[in-house]
Symmetry: C2
Subunit: 342 residues, 2 copies
DNA sequence: CCATTCTAGTCAATCGTTTGACTACTTAAG
DNA sequence: CTTAAGTAGTCAAACGATTGACTAGAATGG
């Protein structure tokens, strides 16, 4: 490359990097620029990263590429990363393939890591910390203090539950997420707070801890339906679990929302396509991806040490899976009063 | 690192790379291995890639992280890549962020590229070829001959259409994919072949070229519904377009499958959750991801020059969106005979 | 006992960029 | 006319791992 322009490689480097410490004649610059175009030259990233100790690559760990929640986060992250001149490398951690994120950092393939997976054990995180690796949690918290970017899950949960209360429900079940996760506990707390603010008692039997999957939502809902006095509405902490809940309700011969209303979290693109179209709380996932990258880069640049961003903007999207509570006996189902009757 | 074990870096390198050309005393080897464990040492990937001219990284270009079709392909690719000691770097190409795959290759960040995006223009592909970059097409074809890994879309389409024919349909519409794409034309050909084999004439007005999106499926179906004698069944070349078709049918006040049957392609995880549960053709997407990585690596190793893999195994998944054609007037709809009446 | 072979390494160049230090030439200042 | 400052570069040492060439000492063969 440098040969074609008849200059020292250092000159090429300074031109490419806009190094103002050194003056370059316009004529020379032009010659180099032409050679670059001629050869489609791009500086070797490996040599560059080696020398500069910087790869301009960010990593992101997610649990599953099929989960649209993470798809939305990735979209935001990819956009922001490319805006700031970084590349994004996403990998999933699950039973099949476990991307070795730690190696990626240790080998210097990435400058920093975003951990957006709840399946990422706390032990792995403390290992990251022990080795002083730059990382940030996304849509996830740990017991110990770490840098994070999250949404306002408590507020989002309150939106959902208040919607049910506004419709007249007082017997509101909750299919929570795993309560050892930040999102799970926050949504649960939002649920409890919303009930309390409306003077509705919290019944522990109306709470079922499930995973963020269709199957666990199905099972959790089944348990709720087996109660002597099942809820008339359910707040599921996730879209997938809310879909599972609807399946369970249908299997029991009941109808959504006539017999039981269901509201879920995360307004994924197929929420409007399922039957009935899901009422959901739309969380700012795309924005979380953007903010995660912004924050991580700030951290890498030393502009900011402690990152704790909470993104506002949860929004209720009302569709067809919620309505007023039933008031009369329906198809062999039980009598409803519209009031909690315990 | 080498210091801790009191050896030359070259010894460390030879131990890590199992270089049998040089003998190492067991004692020395042990000391080095211990130092490696002690420091959690991993050789710097940038230095390594620079010297070896190999990054052990593969790139994959997809149109969208939210499209579950690609999610499934990525899953397979990620699994196979990690099995073979490679890392996978996925990026999406769309209007917002355009990952510069060419730069990734030119900068030597990745060893090879898998192009799994139909939104990747042919011109970009010929640029890849002109610069002699190692790449392979996945679930996609071009007019010129390039290496590819695809599924048997013609066969898959025949499965779908034969299913409709078996149910008694003779007026079968087709919402094709873009007919400049390989998958689009193959599925269209499968449609035509299935009709022909059953002695059913092909009516050009029953064909609508759509994109692989909900919106375009909706619009295409609307056109079909405006025909004087609309089809009683529709084969959509994609899940998303089949969902759009169902929405259009519902909007027109008709019912799926009672008035019109719909079958789509790609058995994504939410196919069973929409209303009605979708009958689809399951294509071997996961396997395509696996095979794409296998083939690309073979190509990189020079073990194989021309790659043209067609993966068998399309499978019909019958759910609730298909049934026998209507035989009588329904809700102001038109008369049906069960026979094509043109 | 000398030459050869084997053992177990060390040395140094290399990959392609970056960057601080240096140089040669020109122009301006005193 | 001498010195200082400005201009436009070149040079060489990194970055960290790899790898072919070389070496010192031990063992073996004749």
């Amino acid at each position: 490359m440098a040969k074609l322009a008849r200059v020292d490689p250092s000159v090429v480097s300074r031109i490419i990097n806009d190094d103002t410490a050194l003056l370059i004649k316009d004529e020379t610059r032009k010659r180099v620029l032409e050679a670059i175009k001629e050869l489609n030259y791009r500086p070797n990233a490996n040599a560059r990263s080696l020398r500069k100790r910087k790869t301009m690559m960010l990593g992101m760990v997610i649990p599953d590429f099929l989960n649209p929640v993470y798809g939305e986060i990735i979209r935001g992250a990819e956009l922001q990363a490319s805006t700031e001149g970084y590349h994004l490398m996403v990998c999933s951690i699950n039973k099949d393939s476990k991307c070795n994120y730690l190696s990626l950092l240790r080998e210097g393939r990435i400058d920093g890591l975003m951990v957006a997976s709840s399946e990422f054990e706390d032990s792995s995180i403390s290992e990251l910390e022990k080795e002083n690796m730059p990382f940030i949690l996304v849509n996830r918290l740990t017991l110990s203090m770490h840098d994070y970017v999250i949404a306002d899950d408590t507020y989002g949960a309150k939106l959902a539950v208040n919607h049910l209360i506004d419709l007249g429900h007082t017997q509101i079940g909750h299919l929570s997420g795993p309560l050892f996760t930040g999102t799970g506990t926050e949504r649960f707390q939002g649920y409890r707070a919303a009930l309390k603010e409306s003077g509705i008692d919290f019944f522990p039997s109306y709470l079922h801890e499930t995973g963020y999957t269709v199957e666990s939502g199905y099972e959790g809902m089944m348990k709720l339906l087996e109660l002597p006095d099942p809820p008339t509405a359910v707040f599921a902490a996730n879209v997938l679990s809310s879909i599972g809940a609807i399946q369970a309700i249908k299997v029991k011969g009941l109808t959504v929302p006539d017999d039981i209303s269901v509201v879920g979290v995360h307004d994924v693109f197929f929420a409007s396509m399922i039957d009935p179209a899901l009422t959901t709380v739309k969380m700012p996932l795309f924005e979380m991806g953007i903010e995660a990258v912004k924050s991580l880069i700030k951290k890498l640049n030393g502009e900011q040490t402690g990152v704790s961003v909470r993104i506002p903007g949860a929004e209720l999207i009302v569709r067809k899976s919620t309505s007023v509570p039933p008031t009369k006996s329906i198809g062999g189902y039980y009598e409803r009063t519209g009031k909690a009757s315990k």
